[in-house]
């Protein structure tokens, strides 16, 4: 609380400066953007002073990204004015925005993987041809802000955290007056988040304004001087984050209390549902990770979380467990006591495996098909097929049950799956797998890009499934989520799996360190 108090003073001082008549760096008046199906922004007003870290808080789909794209000149607003340092302007394109001194770090990276760091940065600048000079400046700037980078590396060979660093350095090198950061921490370890905050505070002290987009309440409380909260494209409030509590911010953001999962774990006498012993696998290509001697056990009635920064072997481990990659020794992977290492995904499902993949469209559901057929996709084994014919009545009953019990918002089961929002598709997939009553459920990134409400439904249903005695394995990058739902945690780093920890016995900081490979028997390679 003390720390936050200090920051409040700091922030208040800065605001006083701006309130004594100084022109705001950026002012938006009545910004409106209408898409055919939805009003993304509805008369939004925002003022950002120089040196201010201004949060734009809202759920997925609230219209934050559209608004930022309008400021950066990627999207043309239908109505509204932009005032830059007191002057009316139309921002025509990103090059124009950069010229004004606006930099943007995208949520989904806008990097070119097959180019080097310096080439990527050169592309984001006007008339930058001297690569050697630029390399030197990259090294200089990146070290000044504590974000060291090797300019000659190819981007595809960098871990996600470093890729984001490239994006940030690309902005910093142009000495921006306004930096837009779209959900920058979603891929970072807690340590990396603190480090980035230091950089941002330093920038703010130098007079650079920052628009910080996030739905993580504690980050905004920790970092930002002011906040604008957006819901369904409209501003629902302006706040001083230091004066608010997470729940008051959440009320403005989602219109109700922040939902919490209820735990009350029953005492279940666990049997081994999944046993991986000394599994090793060479990577399939240069972009993969070798799996090194992985051993894991999951018992019925518990949730095991696998923490780690993406690209550290999660994909390989997932493929090995669900059967997209076959092991030479069947005993490497035992599902409910059966050797399964050489079985294909269908055969493993027969043994009681359920799977919710990270990629919703294409792997979880077939985009071009309706909900009914997508239900059938994995559930057909449960007597929904008779002599090769689909039992439509039975299937549609199940699909409807899935929709009602998991709160999937859709028109009917004949709707195309792609007409649903990401959160609803995820609820549908999770529901489909749970209704098949798996003995072992593998869930990869359960709530990626899902709004708070849907995320809560999904987490709660995973917990309920555990309480019924299913073993659940959750791969996630979101530490808050893992700490909320898991019983035990392991960390995967560089294809090594850490020793297992009980959630009550560890902290996010410890897991964060382990995510960098610093655990007993880990690769211990620092990402910095």
């Amino acid at each position: 609380m003390d720390i936050i108090g200090l920051k409040t003073n700091d922030g208040t001082r800065k605001r006083k400066d701006t309130e004594t008549g100084a022109v705001p760096r950026l002012e938006l008046r009545g910004m409106t953007k209408i898409y055919p199906s939805v009003i993304a922004n509805d008369s939004i007003d925002i003022k950002v002073a120089s040196g201010e870290i201004h949060a734009v808080l809202g759920e997925n789909g609230a219209g934050k990204s559209t608004l930022m794209k309008a400021i950066y000149g990627i999207v043309k607003p239908d109505r509204g004015e932009i005032l830059w340092e007191g002057e009316h302007i139309d921002i025509i394109n990103p090059a124009h925005a950069r010229k004004l001194g606006i930099g943007m770090v995208f949520q989904h990276f806008s990097l070119f993987e097959t180019l080097t760091v310096v080439e990527n940065i050169a592309l984001g600048m006007e008339n930058q041809n001297d690569m050697e000079k630029l390399s030197k400046r990259i090294t200089q700037v990146s070290e000044k802000y504590g974000l060291p980078l090797d300019p000659e590396r190819l981007v595809h060979s960098l871990p996600v955290g470093l890729r984001q660093r490239v994006e940030i350095v690309r902005c910093l090198i142009q000495k921006p007056k306004l930096l837009i950061m779209d959900e920058p921490t979603s891929v970072l370890t807690p340590q990396a988040v603190w480090k980035m905050f230091e950089t941002l505070r330093k920038l703010s002290e130098e007079g650079c304004s920052i628009l910080y987009i996030s739905h993580k309440l504690y980050e905004i409380k920790e970092l930002c001087h002011k906040a604008t909260i957006i819901r369904d494209g409209k501003v629902t409030g302006y706040a001083n984050p230091a004066d608010e509590t997470p729940s008051s911010l959440a009320r403005m953001m989602i219109g109700k209390e922040l939902p919490v999962c209820s735990q009350d774990k029953p005492d279940i006498n666990g049997q081994k549902c999944l046993e991986i012993s000394r599994l090793s696998k060479k990577k399939a290509d240069q972009f993969g990770t070798d799996l090194n001697n992985i051993s894991l056990t999951i018992n019925s009635g518990e949730i095991l979380g696998i923490a780690g920064i993406s690209g550290n072997g999660q994909r390989e481990l997932t493929n090995a467990v669900i059967g997209e990659w076959l092991s030479e020794k069947p005993e490497d992977i035992m599902i409910c006591g059966n050797p399964a290492g050489n079985l294909d995904p269908g055969e493993r499902r027969k043994l009681g495996l359920g799977f919710v993949p990270e990629e919703r469209l294409g792997r979880g559901v077939v985009p071009g098909m309706n909900l009914l057929y997508n239900y059938l996709l994995t559930a057909h084994r449960h007597n929904l097929i008779n002599w090769g014919l689909i039992l439509f009545k039975k299937t549609s009953d199940f699909a409807k049950k899935c929709i009602t019990s998991f709160d999937v918002k859709c028109g009917s089961i004949d709707d195309q799956i792609t007409s649903l929002s990401g959160g609803n598709i995820q609820k549908f997939i999770t529901g489909r797998e749970i209704l098949q009553e798996p003995k072992l459920l593998f869930v990869s990134q359960p709530t990626w890009g899902v709004d708070v409400g849907a995320a809560n439904v999904i987490r709660q249903s995973i917990i309920d499934l555990r309480n019924q005695g299913t073993a659940v394995m959750v791969v996630s990058e979101d530490l808050d989520e893992l700490f909320e739902i898991c019983d035990r945690l392991v960390v995967i780093a560089g294809g090594h799996v850490s020793p297992c920890l009980n959630v009550e016995d560890t902290t996010k900081e410890e897991i964060g360190l382990w995510m960098n490979g610093m655990f007993p028997g880990g690769p211990a390679e620092s990402l910095n």
Partner: protein, 309 residues
């Protein structure tokens, strides 16, 4: 086989490979920007007949090349408008372009069927061309062959050493990211497609005016398709494209000589050889997954819809 025969084969190899060097380099640039134009054969044919008619009427090689390039570029402009402005499917549009080109070139060439030209003289550089062996092997080709090498070097330099080339490659990998940085994805792709058309055109001119200076309907004879295959099997790298093109030329010439020696192999098998050999060799040298991943344009053939604004 005497040393002289070998020398003859080598020299003829370069000429046989040159149309492929042109067409494949053009296609390489087009594909690097993320556009798959399967109309190379058609563009080559229209370029060939345009160049041939100009050469027959004026006798000027320069004008023939300019007309051939313009004709190829115009053909590719049709393709560009279809795929980049009207957002039509690239594969279907490319195939249609080839069929259109075959028909159009045959129609334009009705009056010129079996008309022969004098061909393009080989350069004679004093002293250099007179060096034994080396003189013939290096310093005594026609000017279009030297031009093709110049363009090869230019394309390699452009793609890997200039900002514009980096932008082109970036667009081919991720048009969305390029758009977010403020590059005109569609504009750049137009230019790349037009360059591809012009290069196919000059490749066609070379076939009809220099390599076999006589008009025969459909005389490009599948070289356009080989050029497209070359680009893929050479993993989108200019130097490998050249190696592949000359390999194809070499085997083509060698099999003529083998036929001439009277060896008892059905000629159809020998005619097959250049295609087989080129593909086999390129597949073997480029089967490394990493090279493919790093060099292949990730957005190839996918229509890009600029973000709604």
């Amino acid at each position: 086989m005497s040393a002289d025969t070998i020398l003859n084969i080598l020299v003829a190899t370069i000429a046989a490979g040159t149309p492929l060097v042109y067409a494949a380099l053009g296609e390489l640039v087009t594909e690097k920007s993320g556009v798959l134009n399967l109309g190379v054969e058609g563009m080559m044919l229209v370029g060939a007949i345009s160049g041939f008619i100009t050469m027959a009427k004026t006798g000027s090689l320069f004008l023939a090349v300019v007309c051939g390039m313009t004709a190829g570029a115009l053909m590719s402009l049709v393709f560009a408008i279809l795929t980049l402005y009207l957002m039509a499917n690239q594969v279907a549009s490319g195939l249609a372009l080839t069929i259109f080109g075959i028909g159009l070139s045959a129609f334009m060439g009705i009056k010129y069927t079996s008309v022969a030209l004098n061909g393009v003289p080989e350069l004679h550089i004093p002293i250099l061309s007179d060096i034994p062996i080396l003189g013939r092997l290096v310093f005594s080709y026609d000017i279009l062959i030297y031009l093709s090498l110049l363009i090869l070097a230019g394309v390699a330099w452009f793609l890997y050493k200039t900002r514009a080339g980096t932008i082109l490659r970036a667009i081919g990998e991720s048009p969305k990211s390029g758009h977010a940085l403020g590059f005109s994805v569609i504009g750049i792709r137009y230019l790349a497609v037009l360059f591809g058309g012009a290069m196919a055109g000059i490749g066609g001119v070379y076939v009809a005016v220099a390599y076999t200076p006589m008009w025969v309907e459909g005389m490009v004879a599948g070289r356009g398709w080989v050029a497209i295959a070359l680009v893929v099997f050479a993993t989108w790298r200019p130097l490998r494209v050249m190696v592949g093109a000359y390999l194809f030329g070499g085997v083509t010439i060698a099999q003529f000589h083998i036929q001439g020696l009277g060896i008892e192999i059905p000629s159809q098998f020998l005619s097959m050889l250049p295609y087989l050999a080129t593909i086999a060799v390129l597949v073997i040298i480029s089967r490394d997954k990493n090279t493919i991943r790093v060099n292949s344009p990730a957005s190839l053939g996918i229509t890009y819809h600029p973000e709604n604004n």
